[in-house]
């Protein structure tokens, strides 16, 4: 096999000077292997998503071990909101700004806008962007991909990302989010916010590596698993997703785990009065299907999401 000249670099995309003179850098690990696609894997837009950072490093270790065989350019961004990650916080500290609402950013704006502008410029040439996320810290989710319903190529790719479910969403993304400015983006998420979840990181890392193989950046025979091991996900539109919400406040006590197979009408959990223990409400499955996400933080108000099901 002809081996292209390959370079691996750890680069600083931008550096933010802090008021006291310290500085914080947004770093990128770049693998360049000659002609081929330009793929971006980005994690840590929010500071409470360490699972994504773990996945990026797992992918990076494998790419480094097969670097001479890579084609194209693979950019790995392990954590683009480092100050927030330092605190385990969702938003950029001090400004209390959600970096994932600031795109395309402003190079002459405040620190979060500068980072958003630098990322926007760096990501524009990419053939494919994969964003790694986590669930909200109150929830646990099984590995899933989210793609815009009007992007057939991204949907086809997402099905190769070793997730249990591909959610083709029709609603317009939040203004200023990464999928707002890059509509072909594939969002991979799973596990829980601010935590590492056993198994999830490995599943998503395998999914990212498989995507790199499908896109032509990584030879298929260099995958650390056989391609046939990749999961075949359930693929649904918004109509195939069902949210279960409380009507009472109290403590939500779940009875099942994520990805459990559930019959319509089965009890998913109950809301109890937190002091007396009296059962205020039973939450039941609206359909037969699987539990895509489940609330783990038990305190709930009326209207809180406690489970999300997918028809299967």
């Amino acid at each position: 096999m002809l081996r292209a000249a390959v370079s691996q670099t750890l680069e600083t995309l931008c550096e933010i000077e802090l008021p006291t003179g310290d500085a914080v850098a947004v770093a990128r690990r770049r693998f360049v292997g000659g002609d081929g696609p330009h793929v971006v894997i980005i994690a840590g837009l929010r500071g409470d998503t360490p699972e994504g950072t773990r996945v990026v490093h797992t992918v990076g270790r494998h790419l480094a071990s097969v670097a001479s065989l890579l084609r194209g350019t693979v950019d790995l961004y392990p954590c683009v909101n480092p100050l927030a990650a330092h605190q385990g916080a969702r938003n950029w500290p001090g400004f209390d700004v959600d970096l994932n609402r600031r795109f395309p950013g402003r190079s002459d704006g405040h620190a979060p806008d500068q980072v958003a502008a630098a990322l926007f410029a760096a990501l524009r040439p990419a053939t494919q962007i994969v964003e790694l996320r986590s669930a909200h810290p109150a929830f646990r989710q099984c590995p899933q991909a989210r793609v815009r319903a009007d992007r057939p190529v991204a949907i086809e790719l997402a099905a190769q990302s070793n997730v249990r479910c591909v959610w083709r969403y029709a609603a317009a993304p939040a203004a200023g989010s990464l999928d707002d400015v890059f509509p072909d983006l594939i969002g991979l998420e799973g596990g829980s916010g601010n935590r590492l979840t056993e198994g999830v990181g490995l599943e998503l890392a395998d999914g990212v590596l498989n995507l790199l193989a499908v896109l032509g950046a990584l030879p298929e025979d260099q995958l650390p698993f056989h391609w046939a091991a990749i999961q075949r996900p359930v693929s649904v539109d918004d109509d195939g997703i069902f949210d279960v919400r409380t009507t009472r406040g109290g403590l939500f006590l779940p009875t099942l785990g994520v990805w459990a197979e559930v019959e319509a009408g089965a009890v998913l959990g109950e809301v109890i009065e937190p002091i007396s223990g009296e059962v205020r409400e039973e939450l039941r499955a609206p359909i037969s299907g699987r539990l895509l996400a489940q609330r783990e933080e038990p305190v709930v108000y009326p209207g809180n999401l406690v489970a999300r099901m997918v028809a299967s």
Partner: protein
């Protein structure tokens, strides 16, 4: 005062959205404060206005929601404390959604009528002079001018498409923003100024008869932002509401450790200081002063 909406809470008394109503019949105006829990200047201003309305008979109906995010206000927090969501991002809301979605829906239903006013405060790090913000066109223009505050900032209409004001506008209501002070602390002078401005708006709208003297208003679309070119410790030399002249020193950036001067910021044109950074630690390119300038 009536309880317009209630929401069961897990460990404490229920959340209640209170609405004060003065008068009856048409016309109808709704005034809201405290969508962000730490914006207490608006709460104080509306309580002052309520005091005026207890002494004078209103024509038409005046609804006042003095503090929407009461749980946040109790903890000096901008957002809804339970899940840290910004209530203002939840509009137009959802009666079957999560708590902030339900509260947003209730606020929208509680503020019916053709004219709606949102009282806001600057962030916790910036002190803003009391001023009016209106879109470039629409029914709010004349009422905004009637507020009689030193500055009326006419901004691109897209700036008013989101949050509570965006939801009002989407429902076909005229929406006005009165804004002043800083989040997390009460400035009684700002609160009184905002209350007097609200009374003037109510007089202009035909709800009250009491005339209130107003200061000349600068109506402008031109607001210049002054940003630090370095990170450091910003010491302001002006206050919100000050009139400044060209080349006047607006503030100085110093080294946080040692105090050596790093940068002087001077006014590039005359105007009225609209906002001043009051928390001194600043990043490079951060907004430190905002000055409203005359058009032309």
């Amino acid at each position: 005062m009536s309880a317009f909406f209630r929401l069961e809470s897990p460990y404490r008394g229920e959340y209640v959205l209170h609405r004060l109503t003065f008068g009856s019949g048409d016309p109808v105006v709704s005034i809201v404060a405290g969508v962000h829990g730490n914006e207490v200047n608006g709460v104080c201003a509306l309580n002052l206005v309520a005091g005026v309305l207890r002494l004078q008979r209103a024509r038409g109906t005046i609804h006042i929601l003095p503090c929407v995010n009461v749980f946040g206000a109790e903890e000096a927090r901008k957002r809804w404390p339970f899940d840290d969501r910004d209530l203002n991002d939840a509009f137009p809301g959802d009666p079957d959604g999560s708590p902030v979605d339900r509260i947003a829906d209730a606020v929208l239903r509680a503020t019916d009528g053709p004219l709606c006013i949102d009282i806001q405060t600057g962030s916790a790090t910036v002190h803003e002079a009391p001023h009016v913000r209106v879109p470039l066109s629409g029914a709010a223009q004349e009422l905004g001018r009637a507020a009689g505050l030193p500055v009326m900032w006419r901004r691109p209409t897209a700036r008013f498409d989101e949050g509570l004001v965006g939801a009002w506008r989407a429902a076909g209501r005229a929406a006005l923003v009165l804004r002043g002070g800083r989040g997390g602390s009460l400035d009684l002078d700002d609160a009184r100024t905002l209350a007097r401005a609200l009374v003037r708006v109510l007089v202009e709208g035909g709800f009250l008869q009491t005339p209130e003297p107003a200061v000349p208003t600068m109506v402008t679309t031109e607001v210049r932002e002054y940003r630090s070119s370095l990170g450091g410790f910003f010491v302001p030399e002006v206050r919100p509401g000050d009139r400044v002249v060209t080349r006047q020193l607006l503030g100085q950036l110093r080294a946080p450790l040692g105090g050596e001067p790093l940068e002087d910021l001077h006014a590039l044109a005359p105007g009225i200081v609209l906002a001043v950074r009051v928390y001194p630690m600043v990043y490079a390119r951060e907004l430190v002063v905002r000055v409203a300038e005359s058009v032309g």
